[in-house]
């Protein structure tokens, strides 16, 4: 086994431990704030996967949006709700094993799918082509967003608007 292959494997294992360990931490940690921090760890592991796969743009997006925005948003939300911040509560009850069983079942089914599927393998040439470079990806993305994907792009803004109105209504309700 060549050296870079070994290094890659080691790095892969590290990222896997981050991702899975983070996920487990989210589920079992008694403080919700810690859960959120574990979530960041899990996201970071996924960033590592993308880097390993040479998908630089995706890695950047994952980092910016999931860690930079979503996880931080969750942390803010937790910190702003005082009750949640202080509370320690067990995340499991006597039915936890049913949930675990179901999760395991889903895992088995999905794993079976992944096992049986003939995954297409891109040629080395396609991977090496310059179109994969981040700058190229970025401009192409912009072009696509205002070209073929303009409707999803615009409609997403409607979705956000609806969510915003919903948030306002919920906030006002608690006041009144």
């Amino acid at each position: 086994m060549p050296v870079d292959q070994i290094v890659k494997t080691v790095v892969f294992v590290i990222f896997t431990v981050m991702t899975l360990g983070g996920g487990l931490g989210v589920v079992v940690s008694p403080r919700i704030f810690h859960s959120a921090l574990f979530l960041v760890l899990s996201f970071a592991g996924v960033v590592g996967y993308y880097v390993l796969l040479d998908a630089g743009f995706l890695a950047a997006v994952q980092l910016l949006i999931y860690i930079g925005a979503i996880a931080i948003l969750i942390l803010f939300a937790i910190m702003l709700s005082r009750g949640l911040m202080a509370e320690r509560q067990s995340q499991s009850n006597q039915q936890w094993w049913i949930a675990a069983l179901v999760a395991l079942l889903i895992f088995v089914v999905l794993a079976a799918v992944l096992w049986r599927v003939d995954w297409p393998v891109a040629s080395q040439q396609a991977l090496a082509s310059p179109s994969n470079a981040i700058s190229q990806e970025g401009s192409q993305l912009g072009r696509d967003l205002l070209g073929p994907y303009v409707i999803p792009f615009e409609v997403a803004s409607v979705l956000l608007l609806v969510a915003l109105i919903g948030a306002v209504i919920l906030a006002r309700e608690t006041e009144s």
């Binding site: 949930a99 179901v102 079942l105 889903i106 089914v109 999905l110 799918v113």
Partner: protein
């Protein structure tokens, strides 16, 4: 042109029906009494204008089809909600709405003692009756006609059984001179009478339905024009079967042998209903249907012969029963059966226009007679037994005189409407076969006799029941004016169809000619049938003599020598009993059909249904409800349970797609 809106003729009474049915109770009888007759009057006006529109068209174009919407369209089966306005149907519209209107007006007075609720209900049903009959006569296909046909049956059921709480009406027995008491069968209670009418009609309707099915399988269409157009190419055996089946329906609806039994019992309904059933709606449907289907009947001489024979035999048969009836309305009921026999005789010998002519005049004088009889009942507190009347002509002059006119027309007294129409039929029958003519003439003799027997017993002589007599009074104007109008029609209605030999046109035959133009030798120019003028004058004279003879005999028996009938009854006791009991046909039917049917029904209801089927169904239903309650318990309300179930569902779905 208003004829394009001929549906209005149905729509107006329908609107009245909905109005009275939904709001009548609240708005009171004043409004009901305006809306009911008013909407029928509007329908009459529509019919009148439609008739004028038809006149404005060239003769060969006088058949307008108005398609309202496509009703059913399944596969190749198509039935349009479409109406046919031609001289035949418009004539029927005028008869139905015209006579129907007068009966409606009369009902305002006749039903005045009913409570508001029943009053509104009565007018609602009455309008429904008119609507049903108009659907029947205006249909342009057999399916829609069948709808009207069945609706008419429903209406008769509703109206005959209107006083459904009343019980049987026992009749006083006849005391013969030798002291023997001859029991008179009781009048059936309204509820049972309604059922009887409906069920007997259903027997006929079944035949009619089979006929319609056979038309469909033979022609692939139910549309009149298409069926009649294609009829000549069809095997004559098939046409014979079709026409016979249709005639079974007519026998039921128009009360001919052997399905006539419902009509006498239909008297249990309020008298205006009897008038409506006997004159304007219902019983005329069979005659109309045969006239409408003349293109088929003309191709089936066997069926036509059957029709003519059934008609003439029924005419004579019913006339004999009418001789001894003691119930005024029953006399009239059997006379209706008898007169309908004449009409079938006419259409059976191919004289469709003559049949329609008699239908029209009969509508006038029979409505008149019934309404006059109703006026008597109204005056006497619902007593209808002529043996308890007598001398009423002094108390109720208007009713009396109009009844006289109706009786003259029914008896075929010269120059009245009934005289011309009956004579026309007899002349046509003579042309076809002198035997039929002779039977018809004999019936005419009996008709004159029994009609005036009832008249003399009820109105002449002295009071037999003083208490009743003192109570009697003339009916209010709202009842007598329709009588007077109808009397005018009954007296002068003959103008519609004066015989050719008088040197004038036969107006009705000319009007109907376009509808029957496809038949050879029918219509205005052919009314001058194969008989010589001398023979025709002879027949006319003979008819007059026979009518006068019948009336005279009645006078002789019941006014001049009142003891004679009693002597005769003793001498021919068995015949008398046979007639009083209506040839025991009702009892025979009871024995053959009604009692076994009831026994079977009782067995099915108690043995099979209650014990076996209900047990299974009830058990099944309990099980299902139990299952529902059990499923409901799964609905815990906890999100975690729902989520769990959803995830399990996803696993199953994905596993299915993955493994399948």
């Amino acid at each position: 042109m208003i004829i394009q809106s001929i549906w209005l003729a149905i729509a107006f009474p329908l609107a009245g029906l909905l109005f009275n049915g939904l709001l009548g109770r609240r708005l009171g009888r004043g409004v009901v009494g305006i809306v009911g007759p008013g909407t029928v009057a509007l329908a009459f006006v529509v019919g009148l204008f439609a008739g004028l529109d038809l006149l404005a068209l060239p003769a060969q174009d006088r058949a307008i089809v108005v398609t309202l919407w496509n009703w059913i369209s399944v596969g190749s089966f198509r039935a349009g909600m479409s109406l046919l306005a031609d001289p035949l149907s418009v004539l029927m519209v005028l008869v139905v709405t015209g006579v129907g209107f007068l009966i409606h007006v009369y009902s305002i007075g006749y039903m005045e003692h009913e409570e508001d609720r029943l009053y509104a209900r009565f007018f609602t049903f009455l309008n429904l009756f008119i609507v049903s009959m108009l659907i029947l006569v205006l249909a342009d296909n057999y399916l829609l006609m069948y709808v009207g046909w069945e609706l008419v049956g429903v209406c008769s059921y509703l109206l005959i059984g209107f006083w459904f709480r009343r019980g049987d009406d026992p009749q006083d027995p006849v005391r013969l001179k030798d002291g023997e008491l001859v029991p008179v069968p009781a009048n059936l209670n309204p509820a049972d009478s309604g059922k009887k009418a409906f069920i007997v009609n259903r027997v006929g309707d079944f035949g009619f339905a089979l006929g319609v099915f056979l038309i469909w399988t033979t022609f692939g269409t139910l549309n009149f024009a298409d069926v009649f157009g294609a009829a000549p190419e069809i095997a004559s055996g098939t046409v014979t079967v079709i026409t016979l089946l249709l005639f079974v329906g007519a026998v039921g609806k128009s009360a001919q042998l052997p399905l006539y039994v419902w009509l006498p019992d239909a008297m249990a309904g309020p008298t205006p209903v009897s008038a409506l059933i006997h004159a304007a709606t219902m019983v005329t449907a069979g005659v109309y249907m045969v006239a409408r289907s003349h293109a088929l009947y003309a191709l089936a001489p066997t069926t036509s012969l059957v029709v003519a024979l059934v008609g003439v035999i029924t005419a004579l048969y019913a006339a004999t029963i009418a001789l001894v009836q003691t119930d005024l309305k029953r006399v009239l009921a059997y006379s209706t059966i008898s007169q309908l026999g004449y009409m079938f005789l006419a259409v059976g010998v191919g004289a469709y226009a003559s049949g329609m002519f008699h239908l029209t005049t009969h509508a006038f004088f029979k409505a008149l007679l019934f309404l006059a009889a109703g006026s008597v009942m109204h005056a006497l507190g619902d007593v209808i037994d002529i043996r308890r009347m007598g001398g009423l002509r002094q108390k109720m002059p208007r009713t009396y005189w109009t009844f006289v006119i109706g009786a003259l027309a029914l008896a075929g007294f010269p120059l009245t409407s009934g005289f011309f129409s009956k004579d026309e039929i007899l002349a046509k029958a003579f042309e076809f076969s002198p035997i039929l003519w002779a039977l018809g003439l004999l019936t005419a003799l009996l008709t004159g006799f029994y009609t005036f027997r009832a008249l003399f017993v009820a109105f002449w002589g002295s009071a037999r029941d003083q208490e009743l007599f003192d109570h009697a009074h003339e009916s209010p104007g709202v009842m007598t004016w329709p009588l007077i109008l109808l009397a005018g029609l009954a007296l002068f209605g003959g103008i519609l169809g004066l015989p050719q030999i008088l040197g004038v046109d036969h107006a009705l035959a000319g009007w109907l000619h376009p509808a029957f133009a496809d038949l050879e030798g029918e219509g205005a120019e052919a009314i001058h049938h194969g008989l010589s003028a001398g023979l025709e004058w002879g027949l006319l004279g003979l008819s007059s003599v026979i009518a006068l003879l019948g009336i005279g005999l009645a006078y002789w028996f019941y006014v001049a020598n009142p003891g004679w009938p009693a002597d005769l009854a003793v001498r021919f006791k068995s015949v008398f009993k046979l007639l009083v009991n209506k040839y025991y046909v009702d009892d025979l039917y009871d024995l053959l059909f009604v009692d076994p049917g009831k026994a079977l029904a009782r067995f099915c209801a108690q043995g099979i249904d209650n014990a076996a089927i209900d047990g299974i169904i009830d058990g099944g239903a309990r099980l299902i409800v139990q299952g529902g309650a059990w499923l409901g318990r799964l609905q815990t309300g906890f999100i975690r349970h729902y989520a769990l179930a959803m995830f399990l569902g996803v696993i199953v779905v994905v596993a299915y797609f993955f493994l399948r």
